[in-house]
């Protein structure tokens, strides 16, 4: 496998991890998170500082980054997830900006806006591929469990969810924590693949790109999130589209999708043996009626 191709697959997995979390939080639970890149930054910086300054082994550093990001989500979600969605959205945006600010100004530790160069590139294709697929499996399990259904109930109608004894605040917190953990993991892998990190990598454009992936694929489908991560990471890499034009198209598409087909490409369709069988029988029926 060529290094170029492997690189695209690794970047796809990096995005996929962050998108999976958002899919759970925004797509399934209905809380709009504007600051996903902030959690990636926490994961990236914590894991990098551990491998570079303390010579920690890479897996341990990854887990620490993931955990640090999860911890940050707790005080952030606690005051805001009880309130109307606007407050949470702005709080996450504020968090991402504040994180960037802290990183830029703690120059002695983080290298400021110039960032940290020559990070050991320890992210390998098989490892990240296995981790990403494992996380897809976890999230698929979760959304089809009773807890996942409760999350969807929160999204669909919060008051009705409360009326059937769903602790809506708790489920939002859990989704937020899982989201943060996945984003932290994604950030750790990213840092140890690219080999350098700087605050500008984790700005608002990164957050919006990730959100766009969730929306394009289908807000209620893990399969959609996976497909969108693959297509939207690989396509720009292969086509080498200028990033600004790409974002112009993303923006227009996001609005169009919300207006025309808010459920996104796949709606709530999931790839599974039984859904494939259903597709096949639907095809056969169509074929029979035609002949």
């Amino acid at each position: 496998m060529s290094g170029y191709f492997a690189g695209i697959v690794i970047l796809t997995c990096v995005n996929l991890l962050a998108v999976l979390g958002l899919s759970l939080l925004t797509g399934f639970t209905g809380s709009f998170c504007f600051g996903q890149a902030g959690f990636m930054a926490v994961g990236a910086y914590v894991s990098t500082l551990l491998t570079m300054r303390l010579d920690a082994p890479f897996p341990l550093a990854l887990v620490a980054g993931c955990f640090a990001s999860l911890l940050v989500s707790i005080p952030l979600g606690y005051p805001t997830l009880r309130l109307k969605g606007d407050y949470f959205a702005i709080a996450t945006l504020g968090f991402a900006e504040a994180t960037r600010l802290v990183v830029e100004n703690l120059e002695k530790i983080t290298g400021g806006s110039r960032g940290i160069p020559s990070i050991p590139t320890q992210t390998s294709l098989p490892v990240i591929l296995i981790v990403a697929l494992f996380c897809v499996w976890l999230i698929r399990n979760y959304v089809s469990s009773r807890h996942g259904r409760n999350c969807i109930a929160v999204r669909e109608d919060q008051l009705a969810a409360e009326a059937i004894a769903v602790n809506t605040f708790r489920y939002k917190q859990i989704s937020f924590a899982i989201n943060a953990a996945l984003a932290g993991l994604s950030g750790g892998f990213l840092a140890h693949y690219v080999g350098f990190i700087q605050p500008s990598m984790f700005g608002i454009p990164k957050s919006t790109e990730l959100i766009a992936m969730v929306i394009f694929g289908g807000m209620h489908s893990v399969t959609g999130a996976v497909l969108a991560s693959i297509v939207l990471t690989a396509l720009p890499e292969v086509l080498r589209v200028a990033s600004a034009w790409r974002l112009v198209v993303y923006g227009a598409l996001v609005v169009t999708i919300m207006v025309v087909r808010p459920e996104g490409l796949l709606g709530s369709w999931e790839l599974s043996w039984s859904s494939l069988r259903e597709l096949r029988s639907a095809w056969q029926r169509r074929f029979q009626t035609q002949s």
Partner: protein, 290 residues
């Protein structure tokens, strides 16, 4: 020294107030935060800038053009990105996403068409500040404060004293009841966006003069949104109070604690306020009808 900080705080607060009322006005009637408001402001700043530089119009006319232009743009945004959602009663989440999409589009469209560079307004007012005793007051800051006061007074008059304003208030109180009383919700939405857009237009010009003009300057209005939240989303007086509270807190934090972490204190203030008073300083908690 303290007095000087208060003056600085007020001058920042005035800019925030101008933008925050736009957020609050839309929120009060349509119950969602128009996150594309900052980009309308950015476009207003560009309209003002090019009116001055290319069309060579006098300054007051440039402001008027920015207000009209930004108002019309805001109206169009409402029609394209929000109205279809409102008509089919889509959940709040979709409004926020649509607003975000619109914001990405406007920002990057400006980057690819006008270019990503920073542009500086010509000096309309002498740079040299007034000196009152030990205090120094920037001429531009004074202009901004006066403009803010005028716009706020106009807006107050419009919303509280005219027929249109009373219709807007009725819609803010309860859109469904208002529409039963013969108020056309589409018209109200259009008007609200026109007003919010126009205030963002003048806000953009003043913002652009104080700092610079660039495609992602809309991001700076996050702070104005924070001010609207602090004051109480949906409350016009709240937006103004919140803006000045935030402006002054920020300047003091920057002067006495750390200027690098100034924005951190803004977010901290917001967090404290919404934990202690979720409805903000002046807002009332809206209870969802079951």
């Amino acid at each position: 020294m303290i007095l000087q900080q208060i003056v600085n705080g007020i001058s920042i607060g005035a800019v925030y107030a101008l933008i925050a009322v736009g957020y609050s006005l839309v929120y009060s009637v349509l119950n969602f935060s128009n996150f594309a408001h900052g980009d309308v402001l950015m476009l207003g700043a560009y309209i003002g800038f090019f009116s001055l530089m290319l069309l060579k119009v006098p300054f007051p006319l440039a402001i008027a053009m920015a207000m009209v232009g930004a108002g019309i743009i805001a109206m169009i945004i409402e029609k394209i990105a929000y109205r279809p959602l409102r008509l089919r009663r889509a959940p709040l989440l979709y409004f926020m996403i649509s607003a975000m999409g619109m914001s990405i589009f406007l920002q990057n469209f400006t980057i690819v068409t006008i270019g990503p560079n920073f542009r500086t307004y010509p000096d309309i007012f002498p740079v040299k500040p007034f000196a009152v005793g030990n205090l120094s007051i920037g001429r531009l800051d004074l202009v901004i404060l006066i403009a803010t006061v005028i716009v706020l007074l106009l807006l107050t008059w419009l919303v509280y004293k005219t027929r249109i304003g009373i219709a807007i208030q009725a819609a803010a109180y309860n859109m469904r009841v208002a529409s039963l009383m013969g108020i056309n919700p589409d018209l109200i939405a259009t008007l609200v966006f026109l007003l919010a857009g126009a205030s963002a237009g003048i806000g953009g010009v003043l913002f652009g003069m104080k700092y610079t003009v660039y495609p992602w300057m809309g991001v700076l209005t996050i702070k104005a949104f924070v001010a609207a939240v602090v004051g109480g989303l949906g409350s016009l007086p709240g937006a103004v109070v919140g803006a000045f509270v935030l402006g002054i807190t920020e300047t003091f934090a920057a002067a006495y604690i750390s200027s690098a972490f100034r924005d951190l204190f803004s977010y901290l203030l917001m967090t404290i306020i919404i934990v202690a008073r979720p409805a903000g300083l002046m807002g009332t908690v809206a209870q969802e009808k079951a």
